[in-house]
């Protein structure tokens, strides 16, 4: 059995809130440098860069294993992570979400003079070398029209695993938006942020009987690996991740 260090929530240049330094090459290089052996690429409401990151990792000597993911914003403005069995299934799920978002629109000239907002969407679709191959036109920061249950069903219908993101945060979390975790939503895991783990608050979430993980939610390269889940697996694959989250067949995972 292997014990692998996993950071299962990392953004790329496609997410509007992420740094332009979050290119595929930078992500896999930082992950390797920090001993992160498994990463999940989770941009807001899209899987547009997962293939590029996987390709960048494949080119490295001992690059991280890349899980194709998405961080979906539900209609209630809750963030839910989806981890998918393949880049194809992630892209399929991503498309179902992205196409329901409003188009990105710039600030009006009146407000733009006051704030320093962008005039064009800062949502870069890139190749493995980091060359910009397109700009995402939909507003990735917006909420999708899928409710929490619909979002989890969508992820599951694409063969994926659904994780309630940063449960300990006040904004965009299940408790923050909805007051408490609804008992009938079949989450495969609950994520505690790195800051939450250092405050020791994962104990508060153990009562739900759902696997707890932690990740960095990196928007900048220096954040990669600041939140780690230790995976106990036979080898690394999506199926092994699923077993580890379920705690079956001797696989397991724990917040590191």
């Amino acid at each position: 059995m292997l014990r692998l260090a996993a950071d299962l929530h990392i953004h790329t240049v496609l997410s509007p809130c992420a740094s332009r330094a979050m290119t595929p090459a930078a992500i896999v290089r930082e992950a390797a440098a920090r001993g992160v052996e498994v990463i999940a690429v989770c941009d807001h409401n899209t899987a547009g860069n997962v293939t590029a990151v996987a390709a960048a990792a494949a080119r490295m000597d001992r690059g991280p294993f890349v899980i194709a993911g998405i961080e979906i914003t539900t209609s209630e403005e809750v963030h839910v992570l989806g981890y998918f069995p393949s880049a194809e299934s992630a892209v399929e799920a991503g498309r179902a979400v992205t196409e329901r978002l409003p188009l990105w629109r710039p600030l009006t000239s009146r407000t733009a003079s006051v704030s320093r907002g962008p005039r064009e969407p800062d949502q870069q679709i890139v190749d493995a070398e980091g060359n910009v191959t397109g700009i995402e036109e939909r507003m990735l920061a917006a909420a999708s029209p899928y409710s929490l249950s619909e979002t989890v069903d969508l992820i599951h219908s694409c063969g994926g695993l659904a994780i309630a993101a940063h449960m300990d945060r006040r904004s965009f979390s299940v408790p923050g938006q909805l007051g408490f975790l609804p008992p009938d939503v079949p989450f495969d895991g609950l994520e505690i942020s790195a800051a939450g783990v250092s405050r020791g608050c994962e104990r508060e979430f153990a009562c739900h009987g759902i696997t707890l993980i932690s990740s960095s939610d990196s928007h900048f390269p220096t954040e990669i690996g600041t939140g780690i889940t230790a995976l106990d697996v036979e080898s690394m694959s999506f199926d092994e991740l699923a077993l580890a989250l379920r705690g079956s067949c001797g696989r397991g995972c724990a917040i590191a």
Binding site: P175, G176, Q177, G179
Partner: protein, 118 residues
């Protein structure tokens, strides 16, 4: 004012006709779409104005001791939520007007938020 006066004055739709709404005087209100905020801050006995239609709104409203929930801006919860509210005795009302306008009208009629003297 009573819920039934409020319903008449604001032209609210009653989503839970099975429940009586004559009841006690409502003097307070809260406008929020974050249910954690409602749990923490909504004044007991008040009405909640919201566009959050998730099922949790029923449990949260009851936990906060609210008199009713008014869904604004044409938002309506699903039938499962409505049924749960009926079971729990929580009146649900609806307005086509925005949260801002509903809150403004209730304020003009004398309702106040958390901490304000009525």
């Amino acid at each position: 004012m009573t819920l039934s006066d409020m319903t008449a004055r604001l032209g609210l739709e009653i989503l839970t006709p099975e429940l009586a709404i004559e009841g006690a005087d409502v003097t307070r209100g809260h406008a929020s779409d974050l249910l954690s905020d409602v749990l923490a801050n909504a004044p007991s006995g008040g009405v909640l104005i919201t566009i959050q239609v998730h099922m949790n709104v029923v449990a949260v409203a009851l936990h906060a001791g609210l008199a009713a929930v008014i869904f604004a801006h044409g938002m309506r919860p699903e039938e499962s939520v409505r049924r749960k509210a009926v079971e729990e005795g929580l009146p649900l009302l609806a307005s086509t007007e925005s949260t801002f306008d509903v809150a403004g009208k209730l304020y003009a009629l004398g309702l106040r938020g958390k901490g304000d003297e009525a």
